[in-house]
Assembly symmetry: C2
Homo-oligomer: 426 residues x 2
Amino acid sequence: MRIGVAGLGTVGVGVLKIIEQHGKLLSDRTGRNFEVVAVSGRSRTKDRGVSLDGMTWYDNAVDLASDPNVDMVLELIGGSEGVARDLCVAALEAGKPVVTANKALLAVHGTELARLAEKNNVPLAYEAAVAGGIPIVKAMREGLAANAISRVYGILNGTCNYILTEMEETGGDFAAILKDAQDLGYAEADPSFDVDGVDAAHKLAILTSLAFGTPVDFDSVYIEGIREVSAQDIAFAQEFGYRIRLLGVARRTEQGIEQRVHPCMVRKDTAIANVSGVFNAVVAEGDFVDSTVYEGRGAGEGPTASAVMADVVDIAAGRVSPTFGIPVDKMTDIPKIPVEEHVGCYYVRLSVFDRPGVIADISAVFRDEEISIESLLQRGRSPEEAVSVVLITHEVKEAALSRALEKIEAFDHSAARPRMIRIAKL
Amino acid sequence: MRIGVAGLGTVGVGVLKIIEQHGKLLSDRTGRNFEVVAVSGRSRTKDRGVSLDGMTWYDNAVDLASDPNVDMVLELIGGSEGVARDLCVAALEAGKPVVTANKALLAVHGTELARLAEKNNVPLAYEAAVAGGIPIVKAMREGLAANAISRVYGILNGTCNYILTEMEETGGDFAAILKDAQDLGYAEADPSFDVDGVDAAHKLAILTSLAFGTPVDFDSVYIEGIREVSAQDIAFAQEFGYRIRLLGVARRTEQGIEQRVHPCMVRKDTAIANVSGVFNAVVAEGDFVDSTVYEGRGAGEGPTASAVMADVVDIAAGRVSPTFGIPVDKMTDIPKIPVEEHVGCYYVRLSVFDRPGVIADISAVFRDEEISIESLLQRGRSPEEAVSVVLITHEVKEAALSRALEKIEAFDHSAARPRMIRIAKL
């Protein structure tokens, strides 16, 4: 099996190391030998700690697709457009199997690429695109193949989980912890892709398609990041028996599919709440298998390369699946439920001036929207400064809660925008 | 795909239900239709809640192998010998794929059956044999295929985990909780297969082979069940920050492979310690992927049938692997390390008469065996009754600890056999 590797960043280098170190293991498992015959990267001369001897160098990664010595293309460049996409299209059109770690590409162009793969009768595999080293794509597509999936959710971004865990452990604020994470290399210089929830949403869109046999639909994912999670929210969460995690949730209901990424309050005794630091975890719920949990490292050289190579091994051994578990023409279009329709319990933190009647006014708004309150906590007592009033609601439709919070924000005694965090029903 | 189902107990019935309820899903995923054409069970007339209409009935399950209408055989009878084994052999020899949920069969005759499957060029699959609905066999064999595995361990028996969790939550004794578990259907009338660790050892032997590419070797698994775990041990464990779990552990060291099933003290903050009730969980550690965790239901109609059908779907879609991940002739014989050679920390509970000098005598024995003590706790004070002395050791070879405990047991002031529980290094 002669491989062309496009992208010699962390993941590409990890792949070269596995092929170098585990040649015997890989050939024992598949009966085939693996050789990297061609590569493409940004700089030809950079020292990456692995040898590129004997490999053809391409300045333009797309040329890997037409190299007659390349049997399989690994796209490890990233990004939903440009070279990464062009290379995948060119390789599939040339009838060459493609393995990619590119979540953005799959989330945005997944269905169209799946169709192209089917048309050319070649596999398109992407285990590394979701939750790094955890073999969750395989589990969803093959391991749980006999189940109707009702929900899949999880911690899909290690950077956010690291930040939230650190905030919890140190009591620090988002900005300070983000800075630490950047210094430690756990967050990018431009962190927005991670902390604003986009990366998790890419992964969720892919999981949704795998879970429900529906075309990938990244645009309908509701996305809210973790920038507004405050040290105060984390402290209140603890008081109520919760931790805050950035979750991606895809759920099938009679009305359609919910797809949402946002901070969640999760009960401390759940598996998800106990996933700390840079780890990822995914929970998949099927009608026969019930709940299954998968946990591991969601990023990094070794884990991501491990997932890439699992795909390479599968393809070399002739184990292939339709890209999203079923062929594109068998997919079902399922309506997407907007987040306003979401029904759940909510944590609400209000910042108000502690004047007589303020609680009565707030309660009246909730009563008018028919929102019932499970608990209410007022912290601090200071006539001229803002104090926190924290509420946990019973189940309510999100649209009603949003209306209530708008009304409260307009109050004279409101000192800041109300803050709301959804409570996960796990 | 015409299927013959041998065994119409819980799992067999679950399989019939999946095929009945998910016909479209299964054919969308594979492009093939699934039909159960023949069955064999104990009683032809029993009402199982599923229809057997149109299926050929066999009193002798082995006859399924020679039915020309049967393309694939599901062996859901159980037991390492007799009909189950005969059927698998007959089906493989007839060139028919076999899917089984039979851990005992695989643990005892796995290598020989794998060889037979290879000789006849047909798949032998057994996802349901290890950890029920969790797709752990697939993860080990395919998802982590590019890794050298250093260790695989986990909670492999839901009955034991239920009993230990209940003992912890209620403070009850083993015998009483076992009785409850039997009443609730979580434990068999004859519980020995579960509570003495044999079932977990079967699964561990299979995982060991998958992890290290070595022939299955059930006989060299060290096995110790949970009958001797007392309410007192559980209370002391909590005091030291541990929980007690029955673990199966397979570990590769420079000397060889450790394979052991026994109660373990696990730190409360680990993923494994937070697995409660009838759930199973497996942790697999690879050199590139690092640590990955898999959790779910380890038994029951739905989860086990889900795993059986995952194998059926794979085979129907042409996705096959060598039985244990690599062909039998590529397997390596690796020496097994006896438990006496195990090096670790230990929890020791002594029951002694509280006389002057007793602690000095105990300490001297540990000193002579060069065992250093991390902490020591004496509970109770009663000159004429037995009191508990609890010790946590630093790392020591098990043989030395055993010698020390033998000496202590021979003391005049020993009131009962010393009790030892290994502390897991997770």
